[in-house]
């Protein structure tokens, strides 16, 4: 009797141990997932930039309205998230409000793909403050000092005596990276006191309710309840971004693994056409110069 019990117990323990190793092995052996087929009868998955998410959804809705055979899914999450998904092969297009970094390009190539960059629109980054704030304009140098934490009080830039509440995005955001390079400084870091908000909308909401907050969002997020600062003497207008005279102008990209084919290609062509670019302007961004 006792021997049989022991054998049963050892058997179960051995089975359990085997299960543990199989499960653990499964996780590491999986590696990068399989690539999605781009000619998959009219399904396009797009993921990435939070700045572009409303624009991407507007495009998708308009295109699906006239092409009922195509299903387009758009997700946000940040440029970094979209690019990571592109490298993992789970999306057709990655929306990005910044260029791919060298290490991301290397990772994509290591996974067997060659990333293709297509500029689809232009954008300006609007620096926003509460409409009650008396400061109306700042230079890129002052903005840099504020975001590096060197200036911490509004009175040092001509406002009232109140501490500056710094708002920014998080590391998955292309806007975060672009602002880091363009304003904070390529090798410098954001101040630790900067609050990492989840999305541009979260920044807008906090600025609306906080008289001492400052934040940066894509131009498409401007609202009447917040004030947009002039940067280096230029306001963030469509014309200033189009000709590049606004300091914080940038291209918005869609990345794909290799040249797109089939339904995905037709969609990208449509985005670059007059119809797609018209939607860019409607959403508050800037169309590509023709």
């Amino acid at each position: 009797m006792k021997v049989r019990n022991w054998i049963k117990m050892l058997g179960t323990v051995a089975a359990t141990a085997a299960l543990v190793f199989v499960l653990a092995g499964c996780g590491s052996a999986k590696g990068s997932g399989g690539a999605t087929s781009q000619a998959e009868s009219g399904t396009i998955t797009i993921e990435g930039s939070d700045t572009m998410v409303n624009l991407a959804q507007a495009w998708a809705e308009s295109y699906m309205g006239t092409n009922s055979g195509v299903a387009i899914t758009v997700k946000g999450g940040g440029s970094g998230v979209g690019i990571a998904s592109l490298v993992n092969g789970t999306v057709d297009y990655a929306n990005a409000s910044r260029a791919m970094k060298p290490e991301e390009i290397t990772a994509d190539k290591a996974a067997g793909h060659t990333p293709l960059e297509t500029a689809v629109a232009r954008d300006g980054i609007a620096v926003i403050v509460n409409s009650a704030n008396s400061v109306k304009a700042l230079s890129t140098d002052q903005l840099g000092k504020i975001y590096r934490g060197e200036i911490a009080n509004w009175k040092d830039v001509g406002g009232k005596d109140a501490p500056i509440v710094l708002l920014g995005r998080d590391t998955s955001s292309g806007t975060y990276e672009f602002f880091n390079e363009a304003v904070v400084g390529k090798d410098a870091k954001y101040a630790k006191s900067m609050r990492n908000m989840q999305s541009s909308q979260a920044i807008v909401d906090e600025v609306k309710g906080n008289a001492n907050a400052i934040g940066y969002v894509g131009m498409g997020y401007e609202e009447p309840a917040i004030a947009v600062l002039q940067v280096d003497g230029k306001a963030a207008t469509v014309a200033a971004v189009k000709d590049g005279s606004y300091a914080l102008s940038r291209d918005l990209y869609m990345y794909s693994n290799g040249a797109p084919t089939g339904a995905a290609k037709k969609y990208l062509d449509w985005i670059l056409s007059a119809a797609g670019q018209k939607i860019v302007e409607q959403e508050g961004f800037v169309a590509l110069a023709k």
Binding site: T12, L19, V20, L23, A24, G80, K192, S193, R195, N196
Partner: protein
Amino acid sequence: MSRAADVTARVLITLLAFTAIAILASICVFLVQSAMKSMGEVGLLSMLKGTSWYPTSDPAEFGFLPSELGSFWVTFVALLLSVPLGVAAAVYLSEFATPVVKEFGKTIVEFMAAVPSVVFGLIGLYIVVPLIKTSFHLDSGLTGMSAGLIVGIVCLPTIISISEDAMRSVPDDLRRGSLALGSTRWQTAVKIILPAASSGIFAAVMLGLGRAIGETMVVLMLAGNAGILPSSPFMAARTLTGTIAQETGEVMRGGLHYSALFTMGLVLFAWTFIINLFADAILDRQKKKWS
């Protein structure tokens, strides 16, 4: 016939139990495997003590002390709110409420437990955050305190339900005996029922603690996520769970950033494990004392 069924049932149940343990063990193994890279290249101690978290800069920094402190403050405030309130509510529901009020109260508590924490997060964002900002004259309401208060509300139903169950399972003889000897209902509740149910109440608090440490959505929306070292809950705080949630989407599988996030997960896992061990030890002592 029934002998075979008996054996089959026993084998099946044993296998299922071991599968549950196997899954937990595999999670552990997977966590350690994925965290290995950063523990080797950056060093566990330097990550635990480091004060700068700049994973996408060049050179990258992976110190998550701010996140640890943030998690601590949020959990601290959450428990400060939910434990006294929860145990008091449970005492009321179990010992003093009339049957009608009790049914009504229990239904509401169970309903609260079913509400997704994101909803509480939204309520916190639009009501609690401005309130905290004006009441404490801070520059912003996005602090560890706001997140802690809402996480406390999220943990409340758990603590109330389980404490109330623990108190209800105390045999009626104890109550009747105490009342017969001349104690008031209040004395009975505090001096007899609470100590008798203490192991159950402690288990409830431990579950609440686990829930509070692991809460992700609410802290992401409300705590402010600034990289500073918070010396009080009135400052913006990062949390371990929030940072993992925010950054997991964008990391390259197998990279250093990916591995550092897994180390954070390992730290969370270790904290919860230690708390559970501690709770078990205390429960054991309680059992010995009362049996």
